[in-house]
């Protein structure tokens, strides 16, 4: 399966506790007990994810409605890379 076909989603949003800190965001991930410190656009991506599995392309559309994103092709690659990192950490899931 290529990355473009992967569908991304997240479990119950209650799994994470988010707190602003100095322009960064602290995340306490309840199932793992791990604290993450993340920068934009990670909190925005997490907010865009839901129970419903969606391809990166559709997630990008909903993100660009709220945020000013540059260069369509590059933005999609960046978003896909972020999503894969989040999956590796267990903060997002893919299928």
């Amino acid at each position: 399966m290529t990355q473009a076909e992967r569908l991304y989603y997240r479990d119950d949003p209650d799994e994470m506790l988010l707190r602003p800190l100095d322009g960064l965001t602290l995340i306490y991930h309840r199932p793992s007990g791990i604290t993450h410190i993340v920068d934009s656009p990670v909190p925005e991506i997490l907010a865009a994810l839901s129970h419903e599995p969606l391809p990166a392309r559709l997630l990008l559309e909903s993100l660009s409605a709220d945020y000013d994103l540059e260069g369509e092709g590059e933005a999609l690659d960046n978003l896909a890379a972020h999503l894969e990192e989040l999956c590796a950490l267990g903060l997002a899931r893919a299928r």
């Binding site: 506790l17 800190l21 100095d22 960064l24 602290l26 306490y28 309840r30 007990g33 604290t35 410190i37």
Partner: protein, 291 residues
């Protein structure tokens, strides 16, 4: 075990057992002002054992293994003449690995006007000596090793164990405290260098169950030209997670308490080259931030 003692320091009660009389006698004397009882009368939070490091090692070149509820499997045994240090290390280890009722920050703390100054840093940063010094100069010593952060209220609870003075700090405090009876025996050439314990001032012990809210967090650094620098919330958070032995173990409560701490308490890095200089700098900072 043959010799034993039950001892309360701050909110924690330790049952200390020993194969030898010496370390228990030393604890009884140095902790005379603290609540002491027996294992028949009170229930301990932690058990510490000072046991022979091998068969026959009770008499022959006696060597102490530090064990207990929580222990490090590869801890090197210590000479019996350093038995008091072994007992202290055993108690610290129980707190570091086993305490769950507060967030444990590897920091010293002192209180004045009902507000707490917390000093965090590596060993050698001078945080312990500074706390001992301030504890003789109008502040109440709350602890030289662990600051206990209350999950619910955000207050700091005291853990005023004996102050552990290392190397030059021993002379610094001998000049400051004009009472030989407040010092424990000099233990030369321990794995940590020369060590002597100092009994905290009477008020530190009599008020050891009184918590107070934190007003300032310092990251002191001894051996540098005097300087101060503001520390960001993110940096303070990172430092304190590193300086806490139970942050991960305490989970969400620790996350919430530490976030509140760094977003409500100002953080300053403080470089200094002598105790008197640090005392003056802290006085100015205190008026500014806690006045």
């Amino acid at each position: 075990m043959r010799h034993h003692l039950l001892l309360a320091i701050g909110p924690a009660r330790f049952r200390i057992g020993s194969a030898w009389r010496g370390p228990i006698d030393a604890l009884r004397r140095l902790y005379a002002a603290y609540p002491q009882s027996s294992q028949d009368d009170a229930v301990a939070d932690f058990t510490v054992r000072l046991e022979p490091a091998g068969i026959g090692r009770r008499w022959w070149r006696p060597s102490v293994r530090i064990a207990g509820d929580h222990h490090l499997p590869d801890a090197v045994p210590m000479a019996l003449r350093h038995g008091l240090l072994a007992a202290e290390m055993g108690m610290n280890l129980q707190m570091a690995l086993g305490w769950r009722r507060h967030l444990l920050i590897h920091a010293s703390s002192v209180e004045k006007d009902g507000k707490v100054l917390v000093m965090a840093g590596e060993s050698g940063s001078g945080k312990s000596t500074l706390a001992a010094l301030l504890g003789e100069r109008g502040w109440r010593l709350m602890g030289d090793e662990f600051a206990l952060l209350d999950f619910a209220t955000g207050a700091i609870h005291p853990f005023p164990r004996l102050v552990s003075l290392k190397n030059q700090a021993i002379d610094v405090m001998r000049r400051e405290v004009d009472d030989a009876a407040r010092f424990g025996p000099l233990m030369a050439a321990t794995p940590k260098g020369d060590i002597a314990h100092l009994i905290p001032a009477a008020e530190a012990v009599s008020r050891m169950s009184e918590a107070a809210p934190p007003a300032l967090l310092l990251f002191p650094r001894y051996g540098h030209a005097p300087d101060i620098r503001a520390v960001g919330e993110g940096e303070a958070f990172m430092h304190l997670t590193q300086a806490s032995t139970n942050y991960v173990a305490c989970g969400e409560a620790a996350f919430t308490a530490l976030h509140r701490f760094v977003t409500t308490v100002p953080s300053i890095a403080l470089d200094f080259s002598s105790g008197d200089e640090a005392d003056r700098m802290i006085g100015r900072l205190w008026r500014e931030y806690a006045g």
